[in-house]
């Protein structure tokens, strides 16, 4: 049995997809546990899970303790050979601890899994994504965290399955959740997952104000190139580059930025660079994954409009 665990329905398709393919290769079945999200549990059967669990209650009240305990119980109940989790700030802690509780192996930053001779072969990213490695686990169950956006989603083909409900286990209270806060308002550039960055093409006045708006809608931070900082459109603490900050967001919007190497020096860690520039020859396009040759203001305005309106 392969157990997939999710916290919300957004990560359901890819996590179940990976679990289903692995289960298939091992001649097993797929179970899904949703930690707190009833909608995800409802969808699970349709996406191919043969058993569906829903853990209810104040899961987060004890930090990760209750979640780990609940998952450990389930793994034992279904005799899972592997547990697949979507990779995020929560599962970063849960996966190794869960694996240890079960006497198994944790595999993190997973971008692929194959089966050879009845044994799963896990492919994971290392050295900040500069290298790939394949590993096998010496002890089962394996608890793997999956890199987002890599695994193909499951097809909605199955039937609904009845949801087995579980309660949040008790813990010893050594860890207690006191409060939740929104992320800090002025997200620091180094920690931001999304950066909306403006360069010489942005111009004075409205330009950077619109970038602030866009960043707000995306839950990100505003960055700037040296040219924009020089021109006084952004403060120096917003500068990205060789003499500014080195950032590693998931998405870096380079708007009206030419892409001088001293700027590129600061964005090497970005997972995806989206470049918008009127100059088709601008060096930024060589460093970007997505490029649009158009006026950045028009792009920003249009994006703000689309993000504001309901999908």
């Amino acid at each position: 049995m392969i157990l997939a665990a999710v916290w919300d329905r957004r990560t359901l398709p890819e996590t179940l997809g990976a679990a289903a393919r692995l289960a298939d290769a091992l001649d097993g079945a797929v179970a899904l546990v949703s930690l707190g999200d009833a909608d995800a549990a409802a969808d699970a059967g349709r996406y191919g899970a043969s058993r569906v669990f829903l853990v209810e209650g104040e899961l987060a009240a004890s930090g990760a303790e209750s979640t780990i305990a609940a998952l450990a119980d389930l793994v034992r109940d279904v005799s899972a050979r592997a547990v697949l989790l979507p990779g995020d700030d929560r599962t970063a802690e849960i996966a190794p601890r869960l694996a240890e509780r079960l006497g198994g192996t944790a595999v993190t930053q997973t971008i692929g899994v194959d089966v050879a001779a009845g044994r799963p072969l896990w492919t994971r990213a290392a050295y900040g994504g500069k290298a790939l490695a394949t590993v096998t686990a010496a002890a089962e169950p394996v608890v793997a965290t999956l890199r987002r956006g890599v695994f193909a989603p499951a097809e909605p083909t199955g039937d609904d399955v009845s949801i087995e409900r579980r309660a949040t286990p008790e813990t010893d209270g050594a860890v207690e959740l006191l409060a939740r806060e929104a992320p800090p308002a002025a997200a620091s550039l180094e920690d931001a997952k999304v950066i909306v960055s403006g360069g010489a093409g942005i111009g004075a006045g409205e330009g950077f104000r619109q970038l602030e708006e866009l960043a707000g809608l995306l839950g990100g931070a505003v960055g700037a190139s040296l040219a924009a900082v020089d021109a006084g459109w952004a403060s120096t603490d917003r500068q990205v580059g060789l003499t500014g900050k080195v950032v590693s967001p998931d998405v870096y919007f380079a708007l009206g930025i030419s892409g001088a190497s001293q700027h590129l020096a600061g964005i090497g860690g970005a997972k995806a660079v989206v470049a918008v520039n009127t100059d088709a020859e601008a060096p930024i396009f060589a460093a970007a994954q997505l490029g649009v040759v158009m006026d950045c203001h028009t792009f920003v305005r249009s994006m703000i409009e689309q993000l504001r309106s309901p999908p």
């Binding site: 111009g203 060789l242 001088a260 590129l264």
Partner: protein, 643 residues
Amino acid sequence: MYASMAVALLVFAYGIWRRLRIWRIGRPSVVWDHLGARFRRLGAAFLQATVLKRRFPGVMHALVFFGFLALFAATAVVFVDTDLGITIDHGAFYLGFESLTVDLFGAVFLVGLAIALYRRYVVRPWYLERREPRDALLLAPLFMIALTGFGLEALRLAATHDRWAHWSPVGFIVSRAFAPLGAAGLKAAYPWLWGAHVLMWHAFLAAIPYTKALHWFTSPLNVFFARPTAPRGVPVPTDFDAEPLRLGIAAPSDMTWKQLFDLDACTECGRCTSVCPATAAGKPLSPKRVILDLRDAIRADGAAAGPLAGHVVSAEALWACTTCRACEDACPVGVEHVPLIIGLRQNLAMEQVVVPAGVAETVAALEAREHPFRGAAAGRSDWLEGLDVPELHSLEDAEGLDVVYWIGCAAAFDERAQQIARSLVRVLQHADVRFAVIASQERCNGDVARRTGNEFHYEMLAKANVETLNGAGVTRILTHCPHCLQQLQHEYGRYGGRYHVVHHTEFVASLIEDGRVRLAPQAGERVTFHDPCYLGRYNGQFDAPRAMLDALKAERVEMARSQRESFCCGAGGGHAFYDDADDGEKINAIRVREAAGTGASTLVTGCPFCLTMLASGARAAAAGNEPLRTRDVVELVADALAE
């Protein structure tokens, strides 16, 4: 009279002794080398060379200076004649010198003092920072002493009906006013006036060591003591093996005796502050205040004064300095502000760890990666790919080379600076110069560490570089960066690095002169040259870049503040890597405005950091429009090469 003279001399001597006590707690200073140059500078100072650079106060001081000297000589002559009994004061000498010349100089003296009073209390230049009536207490007594001197002369001329009276024109005129007193009156008035004159002078003499008049003695000496030749502005190195370990200047005893002497040589003229770029940008740094605050603290608390770095002189003031040396150059009395400021920074950086965030990050980068930048888009030699430039690896490779081209960090990591290097390579190849690079084996020259007081990291880098260069048998080095020039030529000697280093402007200018560079210059555009501080003021090189521009047939205009008086771009002292608050216009903005004011279409310079700063300032000034063009001078040559 002799009694009061003796008392005055005793008080004077005590005052000098108190000052001497302070100077003696300082560390050693080398002041006896380059004697020829030192005496030359002293001679020039005697002739008021630097003082006269500012016409109005210069003339004022010259009048007072030479006037006083003449009067003093006159009194000395009388002393010799009367008290020592050696008869010299008679005949032509008496008439020509003692009477006529001295009278005229006496008048000159009075005029000079009057101008001084007028300037201080009516004109009020901002950098004089007139503080208390204390300053008037110096000028007024001198004025009175001279005046009473003339009065005495006038009385004598009147009483004795001196038939040579007209040889003393001033005295003669005043004596007419005294005539109504009558013989008895004149005779009665004389001793009183004489007593007043003598007592005032004795009182003044006694007060000299306790007032600004001390500069009469300390200033000329300080001019002699100041370093007369390059390298200047170099901080005192740290001896990391010393027991106890002293990191920079924390207490007066950490200063050299010359630095302590500087404090007493300062005449509070304010010229240093008036040329300081940090002051102009509204930063909390006034070089004059640094000197005077230290002086006042040490006069009050002696050897126990302090902590000097961060308290007597604020950290903000110390971090605002760009080490441009304009202050030192403007100072007429040889005060050396920059090594003192860096010495205080050494304590802030290495002991107290009170540094701007950018400095901490830069030091961390130097420690981890041996270059001062964050991140790195490429390796040091990546940009050389495809350029057919040989890389030097061993002693054998070095033979037969004209020169080794030291690239430096800016060109290795910053794209704009790279263009300077590319242009220079093109010119070198065009001229068939046999050169090689060390590129991937280079590490930061350490100047940024040294100028921010981080001597520990500086030494690590310097020693390692010397090992690399000596190991490869390098003796002649070409560089396009004045900071690399300063380090490799002047400051690496301490670690066994002795090289002949030439800046690319000097090198290319001589190539042009030798006809090895064929130029096809375009129509003369209007250009102005910004002298980098570390090339011009530090190393006295001004002509080569101008010769290059002339060879390019450019229409060369000069900014008001050029060559020795060049106004800093703002990047020095580590500022290229950290920000500190400024209340006014940024330093590079001020400079760009000055350049634009010449009507030039291109601002040309010879340093990658000046280029970055000025380009940045030009963009800011343009605010989205077409900015003033900024170029390194070798780029213009490369563009004009006739193939």
